[in-house]
Symmetry: C2
Subunit: 176 residues, 2 copies
DNA sequence: TATTGTTATACTCTATAACTATA
DNA sequence: TATAGTTATAGAGTATAACAATA
């Protein structure tokens, strides 16, 4: 058993960008030409705020993602969660067990496949997720307050095109 | 001692987006409204390619970032690296030791502070970094081939505004 | 034979406390 | 007293191999 208890610590300092030593003197211009560097820095910045505000629900980003997909896809299976969130099956087991122990989710028998199990939010889980989603949406507004709604949409669109390559029209692998 | 050897494994599967099970059936639309989610997914996608292509140099993303900052900021100190890259000092020690053992970097005495030490690339380090940077820049072109140069610049600009909040004009904390 | 969920486990990443030498 | 670099170590995150039950 890998999980010590139901409630996890969730602590993390997250270092809110303190310019203790000099930092403006350092030339980071080349790294800033790399999308991976910029995307990772941006993600970590937002995640640090996410951790703070979601601590009240004892939800890490991955827990919230799992609940969100279950909420919007009732009956989703463990494997489907893994595929959608890029989590390895062994690493999901413990998370689901904790969420089930907390009474947030329920495992029901799959309608057609007796190996699988459909995942659902409990009544308490729905209440928790509703509050958590509101917090997440508010966090989005707060951390991206420097960007206009249109800039935010542009950012999301561009990011999606990075991690979910355009399989759309004008593709190169068409049969004729 | 935390490092087992000079050369590290660098192995990682990185799962190149295989749609093994269904995945298009899963509704991820809410998560995709969250910048943190999108930024993290994009970063992980690029980093997985980065890991593959940088394996020949035995450099992880963090190693490359360290070398890049030393290359462009000769004499930079350990603390400055930590500040610029958001790495905790204890976690940098091992990386620098490995790079020094590999003959890639050199530690020299700091000109004014005898506690600190200036970091520099060795001749071999400069050759290695030059090749690595070329690989990184090519990777940027390849992984972002769906985006025009202008879209790429827009993406970088927006990401920087997320992780490095605009401290510029029209700020709210002015004295008058 | 392949897939779902699972256990056990190893490895990597990230964080804290505490020490020394110097400022 | 505070800071730079370091050690030791704990905790969280990510990976592989292998198994039973079912498809």
């Amino acid at each position: 058993m890998a999980e010590p208890s139901t409630a996890r610590s969730l602590k993390r300092s997250s270092s809110p960008r303190k310019a203790a030593t000099v930092e403006g003197d350092i030339d980071t211009s080349y790294l800033e030409t790399l999308t991976g560097y910029n995307a990772r820095r941006a993600a970590l910045t937002i995640i640090s705020v996410f951790l703070e505000r979601m601590a009240q629900y004892e939800l890490r980003p991955v827990d919230f993602s799992v609940l969100s997909l279950i909420a919007h896809n009732p009956g989703i299976t463990s494997r489907q969660l893994c595929g959608a969130l890029d989590i390895l099956p062994p690493n999901l087991v413990g998370m689901l067990r904790v969420l089930e122990t907390r009474g947030v989710i329920e495992k029901r028998e799959h309608p057609t496949d007796r190996r699988a199990q459909g995942l659902h939010l409990s009544a308490a889980g729905k209440k928790l997720y509703t509050k958590a989603q509101r917090t997440a949406s508010q966090l989005e507004l707060d951390t991206l307050s420097d960007l206009s709604p249109q800039e935010r949409e542009t950012l999301h669109s561009l990011l999606r095109r990075v991690y979910r390559p355009t399989r759309g029209p004008a593709a190169s692998d068409q049969t004729m």
